[in-house]
Amino acid sequence: MTSDSTPEEGTLEVPSWEEVARTHGRFIYTVAYRLTGNHDEAQDLVQEVLLRVRRGLASYRPGSMEAWLSRITTNAFLDEVRRKKRRPLEVVPDLPERVTGTDQEPLDVLDMSRLPDHIQTALKSLPVEFRSAVVLCDVVGLNYQEIAESLDVPVGTVRSRIHRGRAQLRAMLA
């Protein structure tokens, strides 16, 4: 999903934030939905992302616009998760320590016609750290270095999170 807009050096024309929203709105929404797992939270996340795009577009540098947007979206998502963690009455996503690849209950009999729904359900049950890495890799299409920069973690951590995320997801869909 990141191959659409890599401008050649010296020819960059930064669009307005409204143009970015209209051109890439579906992309942002897709990433937001894959991260949050439901439409209400995806809409809230997109709203926050557009605010950040509006404020931060001046800092955009030549490169993949979708990589930049996915970075903003993921960071906004993780910020919201952290905010919720500080409020114990709200639902807190599972922490990595409490979820392993072997104690997941497989989903009910897999209806292949609804495979995307099943995958999304499994994706949402992943710890947020694994989910973010997997979404950036398999949904957005970033390479490990780009993911490491987006999440501000070492490449080795990205490798581990992607592996464990996929392994857990596959176990849930077994």
């Binding site: 997109v46 995958i119 999304q120 392994a167």
Partner: protein
């Protein structure tokens, strides 16, 4: 007797599928796949998961949502936030900050051991300095001459920008090893302090203990302010900011990695420091 492969060899498999291994690692994995049915099975499972994920279709937002979101995001937002960061609120934050700093138990092994009174005094001075900057906020550009107002006469490395469009506005050496950094955007203000030492967890019971990027941290929320104290290696960071906790949390994840527990060492390693960045070095 056959030798079992190391457990983490399975972690190489996903990276192998993604073409993210070095040539040596690739050779290692291919050797495992030749000799280990377990690795072949795991590779097939991972490949299946990867294929499913990559086949997920784009998701359409509800009809008209993007235009509505654009309209909402375009609404002016600066005015209410600026009211939040008036001088009174800054003073209130300063008061909370002094309380938190009182919990910091600086290791006696360091050559400077500021006590609570020193923290209070230096923070009062810092607040006055910061308050003087408030009127200049909103221009959206770093006020470079402010660097000259600081007591930090030597280069010091600090991020020039943090999440949330926060830009470095001021660096101050507040006495001893305590460094104060002021970051501001058009509408938000975040103060970041750094001091060598170890916090005393028992003295931070009023805060919510958490982990930020693998470092122990404590979150304090007071009225409309939030303070996050982070213990990273031999340095204590404290970030004070607005009630928008997400912003403070984002800043907390972008703390500078401590190059050394000693300010003297940190200053001595300068050369790519802040003053150089401003052309003042």
């Amino acid at each position: 007797m056959s030798t079992l492969p190391p457990p983490d060899s399975f972690e190489l498999l996903s990276a192998y599928l993604d073409g993210e291994l070095t040539s040596a690692e690739t050779a290692q994995v291919e050797g495992l796949l030749t000799n280990s049915p377990a690795h072949r099975d795991e590779l097939a499972r991972l490949d299946q998961a990867r294929t499913w994920l990559r086949a997920l279709p784009p998701v359409d937002p509800p009809e008209g949502f993007i235009e509505q979101a654009i309209a909402k995001a375009g609404e002016p937002v600066a005015a209410p936030k600026k009211r939040k960061w008036g001088m009174l609120n800054l003073v209130a934050t300063a008061a909370v900050w002094v309380v938190v700093l009182g919990f910091v138990n600086v290791s006696r092994s360091h050559h400077v051991s500021p006590d609570v009174a020193n923290f209070a005094q230096t923070h009062t001075e810092a607040s006055a300095g910061f308050g003087g900057l408030i009127g200049s906020l909103g221009a959206g550009k770093p006020q470079q001459p402010q660097v000259q107002q600081t007591a930090l006469g030597e280069p010091y490395w600090a991020p020039l920008a943090l999440p949330g469009d926060l830009r470095l506005r001021s660096v101050q050496l507040l006495g001893g090893d305590l460094v104060g950094l002021l970051y501001a955007s058009d509408s938000d203000l975040v103060m970041l302090y750094e001091v060598p030492g170890q916090v005393s967890p028992s003295a931070l019971e009023g805060g919510q203990e958490t982990t930020i990027d693998g470092s122990k941290a404590w979150v304090f929320e007071e009225d409309r302010s939030m303070i996050v104290v982070v213990q990273r290696a031999d340095l204590v960071y404290a970030i004070a900011g607005p009630s928008d906790g997400a912003l403070v949390g984002a800043v907390a994840t972008r703390l500078p990695s401590p190059p050394s527990p000693s300010l003297g060492d940190r200053l001595g390693s300068a050369g790519r420091g802040l003053l150089d960045s401003f052309g003042l070095g």
